[in-house]
Each structure stands twice: as C-alpha cells, then as structure tokens.
Amino acid sequence: MNMKTASAFAGAALAAAAMIGPAVAQDTIKVGILHSLSGTMAISETTLKDVMLMLIEEQNKKGGLLGKKLEAVVVDPASNWPLFAEKARELISQQKVAAVFGCWTSVSRKSVLPVFEELNSLLFYPVQYEGEESSRNVFYTGAAPNQQAIPAVDYLASEEKVVRWVLAGTDYVYPRTTNKILEAYLKSKGVKPEDIMINYTPFGHSDWQSIVAEIKKFGSAGKKTAVVSTINGDANVPFYKELGNQGIKATDIPVVAFSVGEEELAGIDTKPLLGHLAAWNYFMSVKDPVNDAFIKQWQAFIKNPKRVTNDPMEAHYIGFTMWTQAVLQAGTTDVNAVRQAMYGQKAKNLTGGISVMGVNHHISKPVLIGEIKGDGQFNTVWKTKDLVPGAAWSPYIPESAKLTADWTYPWVCGGCEKPKYN
C-alpha cells in the first residue's frame, strides 16, 4: 500500500510530465495554432483555428515550404490564461514549432508574451487590440486603435453630424484604452465633456435593459447622439436584441461597434439592427476577386455554404501569407532570419489592397465602415483611400506619445524614447 502510494505519486508527478512525449519528426515544418477550442472564447477562436488549418492545407497543396510539408500543431488552451502560457511553452520548446498563430483576448496575449520573449519565437496575433505594445516576438496583424476607432468616429461626426457620444464597453483593457484614446480625440475636436458618456459593463453582461434605457435618455438631449461600442463578443447579442426591442433605430441613435463582425451577427436576427455600423478592416461583402476566392475556399473547407468570414480571419490570412513569404525569402524558419525578412513584407489583403508589415510589427490596412444589412452582412459606406499603417503607440495618450516602436537599426526597440543601436 505504501509502495503503491509512493509509486502512484511519483508516477503522477514525473510520468505525467513525460506523457507529453518529445517530438521527433523533423521532415516537416510545424506551425502552432493556439486558439481556445473550449470555454468562453471558443465561440470566437475556433473559427480561427479552422482558417489556419485551411491555409496550411492550401500551402501544402502548393508544395509546402522550403521543400517541406507544413504540419499544424493544434492545442486547446481552453480559454484559461495560465494554460495559454503553458501551451505556448509546450508548442515552442517541445513541439519546436516555427511560428505560432493564436490568441484572441488581450490577456491571453499578455499571458504568452513572456514565454515568446524568453524562448524567442514568433506569435501572429490576428485580433484588433488596444495597442500600447510592440514586442519583438509578436506580429500584430489585427487593427491598432488608429486603424479602427478614430476613422469610425470621424465618419460619424462628418456624415451623421454626431455631437454627443456614448462610449460603451466591456470593462477590460481594450475598451478602456480605446475609449481613453477616443475621449482625448473627441475633446481635441471640441466635444464638451458633458456630451460624452462612458459606460462599462462586466464580461458576458446579459441584462441590458437599464443601460439601453440610459443610452436612450442620454440620446434625448436634443443633440445627435451615437454609441461607440467596444462591447465584447458574447454580450453583444443581448445588447443588440435589447436595442431592437427598445426601438432604438440606427436613424435615431446609430451604434458603431468595433467587436461585432459577421460571426457575431450570424447569431442575431439583424432586421431590427439595420443601419447600425461597424468599423473593420475587412467585410465579407467586399467585392474583390481575392475575397471571393477566399470565401469560396473557406465555405468548401468548412463544408457549410452559409459560413461567414470575418476580419480576424483575414488577419490570419495576411499574417500567414507574409510569414510564408518571409520564410521563403530567408530560406529558413529560423526566428531571427524570418523576423528580419518580415519587415516590409507585402501581401495582398482581401479588400483589394496590399498590406505591408511595418518595422513596428503592425501592418497597414484599409479602414472600412459598414452598415448592418438585413442578411447579417455589412454594406460598406465608407473606406479610407489608402491603407493606414498601424501605430503601436497612440499619440493621444501622453505617456505613449513620446514612444517609438521600430525594430530595425538604429532604434531596435518596441517602445523607446531614444534609439538603442543594438
């Protein structure tokens, strides 16, 4: 019995660790996919895992990379932030992946960041985020605040003549930062403090009656009012349902959202939401041959002709294309070589432009503003003429305005006031 206990414990402690047997086969290039397949974030992230599988399959059909096949290594960090760090470590040091595509929430990125920096690997992060970061080991293919929030506000102010603003968001860092930037921006444009209402709700907030009523109240002050929503994924459905039920029409109080895309709308009856807006860098409805091909390929891959595409999927598409090009250019999957090759890397995006990877690890993107249509798609009502380069540090936050992100000589730094020269 005692021996049994001892061996049971020893076995558990050591053997369990060894269970995750070391990887051997080196005739493939491994690509890590770190997206939650269970838990609260599975709702958004599973799709991205599927996109990556599709892109890798496609690349393999083209003959792989550097004469080797690509091999996708999928793990499930289960919407659990410490598990993200653990899985990232497993992918890098055990599976020896060449790069990792993954994460959705800011906290998951923050959680894996030290691991990527410690083990010097590459993460491609496909989601719009709050900025204020530029890691040597992360390529940010989603939008920075200057590629989403500010153009959207400009559009509302000029096209809809909005003068009164509700900044409603889920209480976490992305809405906080975005709203902070927007508040500073709006004030710099002469909006009075009493014309700005900021409201934060917890994750997964499902009872929106009071807040929608409050918005309605705020909107009945005789000035054109709009809502800028940074409400996170899950809470959007009940929010929009409540908007529709309380009869807030886009013609009265338009809502522009930064986290509501085709995937989220697929879960709602969009008829009452006609005309509410979203700002993204990609819409499924954009007419472009590359986009059409991508949609066709996606729907065939997922075997569902109704599945939609969305912005973070495009971000992975661009990120993956850039990575493969950089690997080819560098002739190796070595992290440092690939990183150098990434700078200035160009790739066709799905809206007819060519995105460029900047030395601050952010890419250039067009900004699109769309109105929600009855079929859950967006009707592009405005688009930037040129692509907007992503800015890591916002000029509207005093502390970050003085920082520069540039990973090439002489700066070699993600956030410095002076060049580092090495």
Binding site: D171, N199, Y200, S210, V237, E242, A266, G267
Partner: protein
Amino acid sequence: MSPTLRRIALVLLLALGAPAAWAQDLAAPLQALVGDDLAAKGEAMEALARTGDPRAAAALQALGDGRLFQRKSDRKVVIAATTRGGALTDAATGAAAGSATAADLDEANLNNRLRRQLSGLLGSLTLTLGDAATRIAAAESIFKTRDAAALAPLTAAIAAEKDARVRRAMETARAAVVLVTDGAEAERIAAAATVGARGDRDALGLLLQAANASPPAVAAAAREAAATIQRRLVMLDAAQNVSYGISLGAVLLLAAVGLAITFGVMGVINMAHGEMVMLGAYTTFVIQDWCRTAAPQLLDHSLFLAIPLAFLFTAAVGVLLERSVIRWLYGRPLETLLATWGLSLVIQQAVRSVFGPTNREVSNPTWMSGQVDVYGLTLTWSRLWIIVFAAIVFVVLLFVLKRTAFGLQMRAVTQNRAMASSMGIRTHRVDALTFALGSGVAGIAGVALSQIDNVSPNLGQSYIIDSFMVVVFGGVGNLWGTLAGALTLGIANKLLEPMAGAVLGKIAILVFIILFIQRRPRGLFALRGRAVEA
C-alpha cells in the same frame, strides 16, 4: 435639400388632389432602388415620390420595410409580403408575381442617410393615404425628422383629418416642426406646450434642443415644458427600474425554478442545470431552423412548438442522466456536484461538436418584438412575455407539486424514502420523473432565454451561479422562496445598477446574499423547526 423637399410637397399636394393622370414609367427609378449606387438611389426615391403614383408610394413603403427585392431569376423589382419573402407583387405594375423565399431575392439596401430621407418622403406621402395607423406613423416620422417642408402638407392633412387620435399625432408633429422652425414666437411658444403634452423622452429631447437654440421667450417656454416632463420622468424612472427588476427577476426565476426542483427538492447539486437550459435554447434553434426551410408560415409561432418539444427533450436527457449517473449518488449531495460538473462539461462539448462553437440565430417572433408604452413606462414585448411565461410556469409547477398525485408522491419520496417505498410508491420511477421535471422546466427556460440571450454552448454557464444564488437565497426546497428570491434579487439588482453601475451593483448583491445567509442560515423561506435542524 429643404427647397427640393418643399417643391416635392407642393407637387405631392397637387398630385394627391388629381388622380394619377400621368402614367409614368416607374421601371427605371425602381431599378435604381435595387442597385448599388447610393446617390442614384436617393435621386430615384425622390423621383418616385414626385410621381405621386400609389404604386410608387407602395414601393417606397416596401423599401422602408425591407420588403423591396430584386428577383434573382429575372432581375424584376418586386414587393414581397414579408421581409423573408412570400407572395410577390411586381413593383412596376402592381400585378401579382408569384412567390419566393429570401434566398431567391436580393434585398434593396439603404444606408442611414437614405433611410432618413425615405422616412421624410414617406411621412409626407402617407399623411393622407392609408389607414389610421399608417397616418399616425407618418406623423410620427415627421415628428422625428422635423422637416420644415412637411409643414404645409401637415397643415392640410390636419384640416382634412377626422380621426381624433390621428389629428392629435399630426398636431404634435406640426408643433414639433413649428418649434424648431424660425417663425412667430407666439406660435412657437404654443408649440412648446403642445410638444410638452406628449410627455415622453422624444418630446423632451426636442424641447431641450429648442431650449438651446431659440429666442429667449421660446426657449423659456421649452424649458418649462421640458422641466414638467423631467419631473414626470424622474418618477417614471423608479417605476421603470422596478419593471426592469421584475423582468430580470422573471428571467432568474425561469433559470432557477428547475434547479429548485432538482437541487431544492431532490438535494442534487445539479451543476449540469445550466446545460439543460442551453439544450432547451438549442431545441428552439433547431425548430426555428426547421420552420425556416420547411414551414416558413409557422416561424412566427415556432415557440409554441418549441416549448413542449424542449420540455420533452430536456426531460428525456434528464431521465437519462438520472438513470445512468445520479441515482447512484442519492444522499451524497456533494458527490452529485462532482458528477454533474463532469456531465456539464460533456454536454457542453457535445453541443459544441454538433452545432459549432458560434452563436446560433434564434429570431424573435413579431409578437415578441418591439415595445409598448404603458403610462410612459416602456416595456418591451419580449420581456413582458417572459414575465407572463415565468408566471405560468411557476403556477403550473406549483399545481403539479401541490395538487397532483405525482406531486404528492414526489414529496413523500423526498421526505421519507423508506416510508414511501413501503407504501407502494415506486421510488425509482418518482426519482427519475422528478429529475425529468426539473430538467424539463430548465429546458423551457432555455426557450425563453433564447429570446434575449446568446444561443451558444456557454449559455448555461452564465446562469448557473445566479440560479444557485436564487435558490439558496430563497430557501432550499421551497418554490415560493425561489419566487421571492428571484424577484428580490432581480429588483435589487436593477435598483442598484443605475446608482453603482452594473459591476458594483452585482458585487453588492453578492455581498448582500453572503450577509443575509448569516442572518438566516437557511434562506428567506426556511422552515423553523426541529426536523430542519437535525
């Protein structure tokens, strides 16, 4: 834009007097309506409005309602009976054109600017056309747009209007226009009073707008009227918050009442309860999905189908769980917690595998959409129905437990299993049925929640903690306690929310529950007695 509109209005007035003598070709502007060029669309709308043709009016109306389509097969512009298709009418000729579903049709899109333009056009156009409801809607849309151009047709329409309700709406709309248009001060001051009489938030918004940008006398009148409304609204606000609280309470009650049976009556700490709710919501989705393809006419009534089916399905799952797992764990409540937790993981992942991880769309039937004003209180139909539904579920459940043979057996078994068994009650069957009842009720709660929340595999997780709080707060094993608990927590939450914000409000509620349990360690409706303490 204003001069143009004024011209249109004039033309319209003329046109409305005479029959549509000039039969114009509507085809070209109609085609523009379904095109992609937004600027052309705007012009086409005006052109159509200018014709004054009833067919043009119908087409514009349909455009506003989202019922104007282009048929994919022959590019013909058609008006459908509903936004999802149905019987078609040729927009140009007014002739019947068969029927089609949304899949065969391309919808004519609008953006917000066009939508506003359209509602202005429609407002003037339909002021004297159509039934009372349409005319009121037209007046309402002028009230919102406050387009000075609408003043003349409005005045004319008021003179001709016989229906007192419609006339009142029109007069308010006219007052709204007058209030914001430069004109005689006396008239504007009178208008402020008329608008003030309307007494709602829209009126308040208008008055405040006028108060900011008017000659002093008018501004003062507007401010006064606004102040009256504000006083009224302050009182309404409290009532409104209570109504939100009742509605949240109803949601909590629905979510928790099934748990009150499985946990409260049977003593099973059922962590899979939320998943039963989720399964109920998915049943609704499946049924709506089936309706959409197989029986679109049933879609609006699909909930009536979903309620019994969700009950049966989740009850069946409940029986399955009870027979396979839970029956081995009676009398070990804490172990039921572990087992049902495991089950909840399995069910969640199973749903994720079958339906995918993303939200599925469950639409609100028309009778659950929109809102109703009761003495200035805004109540949305979906919430109202959920309150009614929760009440019905509660009463039925109470009846089942208190007045039926099954309820009697159930209480007998939970109170003294051995005794019940020796009296010939088949306790195993009663156990299974009780668990099935609890699960089934959770399932129909899912049907209701599908109307206001995400239908995703995570649905259940977001309600499970709240459900436990409600049951424990109310007092385990007492349905009335669950009712009182749900309503208390719902109302308290909604009264706190405007003061403290959603997060702090919720924290305060949790702290309150913790402290309350110290005062009454067995909940609100605990029985005090010897048996309970043992």
